[in-house]
Point group: C2
Chain length 251, copies 2
């Protein structure tokens, strides 16, 4: 591994998560199956889906009673009214609701499609909701990994989000533990001596995006290790990745 | 390098670009200085800044005559009226113009802050504009690398963009050559048998984000190689990464 080089290592063989499972134990099972050992300075990225399943954040659609709004919107755009109902329940603010889409703010402050409610990669007939507190989920994984093995990586919970103006979805960080999610270059100078005034890099989002490249959507690889990235340790929270309302031009 | 693993390798020692330079030759000089050899299947990510400099897309601020709108807006928000003028000239549509910010659509269709006009990492007193045709820039780099050495990586031109609703900026792809920028999972099935209906991943943006992690902003490392990613070869264009107006809820 060369100087300054980064490795992104998929963790294959992670068992399917069931409610009550320890995500740390699932990750360790996959690492054992792949003969992977953790190293100091690693970043572990785990998809939201495995965390939500382990935390029991699954809802049986047959149990959901849709509201009149959900029924009407679903009928108009050929969607499942029970999923629309779940989206409305998971939302604290609707940003856009048009053309069958719902872009909403979740209680965590994230603005995303369907408030994170997702029917893919779950048992048919169920929907997965976002973890209640993804930062806490990340901290739990980190603590348990350390207790079980002494390995204490920075942990990122990732999810795939759409973006305004850009096509396609990308992985972003919705929970973090052990690292600062933003890298702040403000006040530093570039090689030309210009002061960098607005450069705050969302490194946790870039780490999540990098991890997605080895995960794929169909192969059931819900975690990856990023090795060689000199992250800033600290008690970060994914809330730092949310644009503060007073600076948000797109509320 | 394990199965399915990705490596992200910074290319150090790339000389400062001057108008008329061949970016391919600059990259090769850096690779020689770092004892790096290209391999089949590599993705090369190059920052917009080095491309813009090599293509002479630099403007001396002292030569810019600001319009009344630029003067007024700059005065109100304590900005440089000449930079504001350049932003207006590089824009085909203003999406938001408030609180000192200008979010604009460029002629390429990208929506970003300042229409890509940037004062960092350039000689003080100058501004860098986006390349006129970043796809063509990427194709030229790719062709020249192949002619000079036989190495024909997929090429991505990257730039750092802000995002609606999220704090911090991330690298995205503004030009591509030799790869499909989107990976389309629609119609495939997840391990549970659910058909994946809306999953189109912006892999070129994720590759650009991954590359940023080894580049930094202050260290003058404007390129990286991503090795081990099974991209889909093809004549892609970064325009595929722009949300089509008819599907864009945030125009």
């Amino acid at each position: 591994m060369g100087s300054g080089e980064l490795r992104i290592i998929p963790i294959q063989g992670i068992p399917e998560a069931r409610p009550g499972d320890s995500v740390a134990e699932l990750v360790l099972a996959g690492m054992a199956a792949s003969s992977l050992a953790g190293e100091p300075g690693d970043v572990l990225v785990v998809t939201q889906k495995v965390v939500s399943k382990a935390e029991g954040r699954l809802v049986r659609l047959a149990d959901v009673e849709p509201s009149p709004l959900a029924i009407e919107y679903a009928a108009r755009w050929e969607r499942d009214p029970r999923q629309v109902e779940l989206v409305l329940r998971e939302s604290v603010r609707i940003v856009r609701m048009d053309r069958g889409l719902i872009i909403a703010e979740t209680r965590h402050g994230f603005v995303c499609a369907n408030a994170g409610v997702d029917l893919s990669n779950v048992t048919p007939g169920y929907a997965a909701l976002l973890p209640l507190d993804p930062d806490r989920s990340a901290a739990t994984i980190r603590r348990e990994l350390c207790e079980l093995t002494g390995w204490e990586p920075a942990v990122i919970i990732s999810d795939t989000f759409g973006r305004a103006w850009r096509n396609g979805i990308v992985n972003v960080a919705i929970g973090v533990a052990g690292l600062r999610p933003l890298r702040d270059y403000r006040g530093l100078r570039d090689p030309h001596g210009n002061e960098l005034r607005v450069t705050v890099i969302a490194v946790a989002d870039e780490l999540a995006a990098a991890a997605e490249l080895v995960m794929g959507k169909t192969e059931g690889c819900p975690a990856a290790i990023i090795r060689g990235f000199a992250y800033e340790p600290g008690d970060g929270t994914a809330r730092e990745l949310v644009m503060p309302p007073e600076r948000d031009l797109f509320r």
